[in-house]
């Protein structure tokens, strides 16, 4: 591509192609299609557009709760309202109050699909571009382009948002923007965007401990004068942002109890420990340990909270400690810890918290894919990231199958793995991790084949979803442990833990080669320099980019080159 005068077209082409693929996934079915009377998430989102444009704000969180009552924070409601206005301008029958329930016309489907694409294009896509620009700014254009592609075509996200039907990319996009603003040193903007993310979907709360601890660490590292100043500013900006989002529900505009309506709806503790089958600790252990019989709901809530906090504590503890140890150095020295902390925190929420859905795996998947996007294909990070992405997709299989998205599942998965050049089945010298990946992925494949060949027995109707959970949960658990391990290693690399390293130098080199997102084998050895690894990363990257047609080839006889050939 680079030799064919396409250099300046790469990013637009990636964006256009990814939009095309997203739209084509949307040609297929969606959740709850043709399943009256309740339908599914698609109908929920459409119903929210319908009720927000027809009802005053004080009814939004109380109107006919039995039929998909609004249970997302107000920003979702505002977005629904905007979409609703546009939609009813085109065709008001799509969103007529009550009368439009369960509408499944081609026109309304096209409209709904286009709104997801629109919001994705307005939030997630620019967020990815900005992330690559900031976090991977010292990397080669090839790496940046690959990373963009990896993130824009992440199959799990594509299938849930454009197949199943949700707007997760908006929430993830805001968080991603927040991360990039933090990396750019604009902490206040970062805080605003994170609040937007929270205001859009409460699942962003999974990130909150990491983001919070990052900001505290940043304040600590700024020293006694600047630290508190930033802290106060952050506090003010965050409160103000929340206030703006919840404005219609706050006292001057409505009586005090109004604010409780959305809060009640957003945090549904009255629901069960988990829904359906989800690949987390509770559901997996439920096979042997019958939690819900042994304990009261209250106890379970407390227990899950305890586990969750214990789960993310290492991440945020490490972060704050690093911030304290590295005080009075600039730029934000704890930044490399942020993706790992986000992963630790969100994964522990996914594994241990209350009322988790299988789709929520998208939340921990984001930081992991970010790490993957900048990693070399031979690295552990890449191997794990790619494996978890595939397993996450696999863990959503029962859901996607129910939605009639089997074909899209196969296509999106194959496409992404091919694009990133991930194929653990390839014959070559393998690392332990690759053997592990091959085992897991073979088991997943076998389970798929079994499911086609052998129908589940009447005694065990849920056998396949349960096996799915039992297979996926350990992988997620390992990812969680790995993220903690990596946090410690990176802290070490930053000079927090090592006794003989000089923090200042470490920071310099780390800041120079921004950032964290590499695979730091050298860090494992206690060597804090990031230079060697940038080398190794770029060397092996050229291998990985082979499949993308970037030229550099391992086998000179079978040149692949770009779409457009080669000299």
């Amino acid at each position: 591509m680079y030799k064919q005068g396409l250099r300046h077209h790469v990013i637009p082409l990636i964006i256009l192609s990814s939009a095309l693929i997203k739209w084509c996934i949307g040609l297929g079915s969606y959740s709850g299609r043709g399943t009256a009377p309740m339908f599914g998430d698609y109908e929920a989102q459409r119903h929210w557009m319908e009720l927000t444009i027809h009802l005053p704000t004080n009814k939004w969180y109380t109107y006919d709760l039995q039929y998909w009552g609004l249970d997302y924070p107000p920003l979702t409601a505002y977005v629904s309202w905007l979409c609703g206005i546009m939609g009813s301008w085109i065709d008001s029958s799509w969103l007529a109050l009550d009368a439009s329930r369960g509408i499944e016309t081609q026109g309304s489907k096209n409209f709904m699909r286009s709104t997801v694409l629109l919001w994705d294009a307005l939030t997630y896509t620019p967020a990815v571009l900005y992330f690559v620009k900031i976090w991977l700014r010292n990397r080669s254009p090839k790496t940046q382009h690959v990373a963009t592609m990896v993130l824009l075509l992440q199959p799990a996200l594509l299938l849930v948002d454009f197949g199943h039907f949700q707007y997760n990319s908006v929430m993830l996009g805001f968080t991603l923007l927040a991360m990039s603003f933090f990396a750019a040193g604009r902490d206040l903007w970062g805080a605003v965007f994170f609040v937007l993310s929270l205001g859009f979907k409460q699942m962003a709360l999974y990130y909150a401990p990491a983001i919070g601890s990052y900001l505290i660490a940043k304040c600590l590292s700024l020293g006694p004068h600047n630290g508190p100043k930033l802290f106060i500013r952050l506090g003010l900006v965050t409160t103000a942002s929340f206030a703006v989002i919840f404005l219609p529900f706050l006292p001057p505009l409505s009586p005090f109890p109004a604010i409780l309506q959305p809060i009640h709806r957003i945090f549904p503790f009255q629901r069960g420990l988990f829904e359906d089958k989800v690949a987390n600790f509770w559901c997996a252990s439920n096979v042997v340990l019958k939690w819900r019989i042994w304990m009261q709901q209250d106890t379970l809530i407390k227990l899950s909270a305890l586990f969750t906090v214990a789960g993310f504590l290492p991440g945020i503890g490490g972060m704050i400690y690093s911030g304290y140890k590295l005080r009075a150095t600039y730029p934000a020295p704890v930044l490399p810890l942020l993706p790992y902390a986000l992963l630790t925190s969100s994964m522990s929420f996914f594994l241990f918290s209350f009322q988790v859905h299988e789709k929520t795996i998208l939340v921990p998947l984001l930081p992991l894919t970010l790490l993957l996007s900048g990693a070399a294909s031979s690295s552990f990070t890449f191997q794990l990231g790619a494996l978890v992405n595939n397993v996450a997709l696999f863990s959503m299989w029962p859901l996607l199958q129910r939605d009639g998205l089997a074909l899209q599942y196969i296509a999106a998965m194959l496409l992404w793995n091919r694009l990133i050049g991930y194929n653990p089945f390839k014959l070559r010298q393998k690392s332990l991790m690759e053997y592990f990946s091959v085992t897991i992925l073979s088991l997943c494949t076998m389970l798929h084949v079994l499911e086609i060949m052998v129908p589940p027995s009447p005694r065990l109707p849920d056998i396949y979803p349960v096996l799915n959970v039992l297979l996926s949960t350990p992988v997620f658990g390992i990812t969680w442990l790995w993220s903690i391990k990596r946090s410690i290693e990176v802290s070490w690399g930053l000079g927090v833990l090592g006794l003989h390293t000089k923090p200042q130098e470490a920071i310099q080199s780390e800041a120079g080669s921004i950032i964290s997102v590499e695979d730091d084998r050298s860090l494992v050895g206690g060597n804090s320099s990031g230079v060697g690894l940038v080398h190794s990363a770029s060397r092996s990257l050229s291998l990985r980019t082979r499949s993308l047609g970037y030229g550099a080839e391992k086998r000179p006889s079978l040149r692949s080159g770009s779409f457009s050939g080669e000299t």
Partner: protein, 559 residues
Amino acid sequence: MNRVHKLSTASPARRTTFSEEPVRSEPAVVEGKDDKKSSARWLQNIDVYSWIKDVTPFEWDILLASTCFKLLLFPAYRSTDFEVHRNWLAITHSLPISQWYHDTTSEWTLDYPPFFAYFEKLLSIPAHFIDPKIVELTNLNYDAWSVVVYQRMTVIITELVLATALQRFIRGAADPPMQRIISASLFLHPGFLIVDHIHFQYNGFMFGILLWSLLMARNGNKLASGFFFAVLLNFKHIYMYLAPAYFVYLLRAFCLSPSGELLPARFLSLANAVILVFTASLGPFLLMGQLPQLLSRLFPFTRGLNHAYWAPNFWALVTATDRVLLKVAHVFSIQSLHVNVSGVASTSRGLVGDTVFAVIPNIKPIHTFIITIAFQLIFLTKLWRTPTYKSFLAALTLCGYTSYMFGWHVHEKAILLVLVPLSLLSAENNAYFRTFTIASISGVYSLFPLLFTAAETPVKIGYSLVWAVLTIQPLSKRVYEFPMSLPWVILDSLERLYLAGFVVLQAFVTLFPLLTRSQAASKAGSAFEFLPLMLTSVYCAVGLVWAFIRLSVIYLRQT
């Protein structure tokens, strides 16, 4: 495969003149009693494992990525052609061969030549195992997910014929990197995506056979080339548009020596090969005395000059001129102009049926036939004088192009007959490249109205855009020459302006229905509906006619 083949025939052929081309290996192909035997020979040469090993990572990328994308299009809009092909599966599966061309259970009767019927018969066997309802004759308009997946899958799999031909084109090309761009661009052609993978047909498969034939011609194996073309003709008779070029090329370059003497051995082997193919195809129907019935199915001469949506050819421009003249006549109330009353009502709405002109004298099939033949003769004379492979490609393209331009009741899908061989010439030089660019963009755009549904609109536009950038940019990097004199600069700018006009056209086509929504609901709706189509047709016709003139001049002036 056929590496041995190539060594024995192609490489000496490059060194020597036509007369010295070795014929030795060629009888191998026709030696057998029928084409099955010869294909058995062929199969021996095909070592699947070494073939797969020969596929480069780049080719895998293209194949896998495009296949994944095509999978996503399974739920997309499909035209009645989908039901047509399902019905043919049912006919060939549940009826004896004697009934195939007689059955009228469905309105979509079998109207492709016998090889295609055999092909459907072959496809109907697995279909029966997957879902017996697919091949039930009376199960009209069956559209369960099983039949959708099965039929769409057969398109993807049979398209591998195209993929392998294009892959072979890269091997042994004069400029492999260039050929790689062309091959990839052909495999990913939006024409195939729109017509095959959304609208539903098997063009990828059949153009695969055409490309195998052209590949054989390039490799110097003209007998095999003729054989493949004969096979292709028996799959779909629309390829007759290209037959004159094949006839002249094979006669001049294969059957005659450079000095003009007939080479009986070659002539007989070619004749035998062609006769064998036709016997295998038509033989059973000949024996059953059904040939007239079969031919009446293949050539229904009951259609009008233009298709419902005017294919953007010469006649589209003539028809549009007629409309304009009619308006002029109305406005200035010119009495002297003879206005055909029945023509006033006709065509303005683009309904199926005969086109009757209001002002311009009417066109009869014989007129279109004479014009087509006349133009083709010019190009064929040139081909007769320079019977080289490149000249053959250009003449072939022009033959198809002439038929498209002036033929009777041309369908817009026929533009692929022009675009596919033209692609192979696109990297020759700047002149060919420019012609290719204009023809491809207007040709692909002219296929857009095939998909009129809203959900597929972003797909066709987005995909074509990506394809255009990925094809045209690297080609232009290699062959583009800056125009050196003022007239050329002006021409170059005009062409660029024309291409940029497609953006405006698309904007108009998209916005027009929205803007006229209120009027359309009340009155004269259908006239409004037809305006974007008419504009599309006329605008594309301008580009295609210009590309035709360009290509003709380039070819005829070439030495």
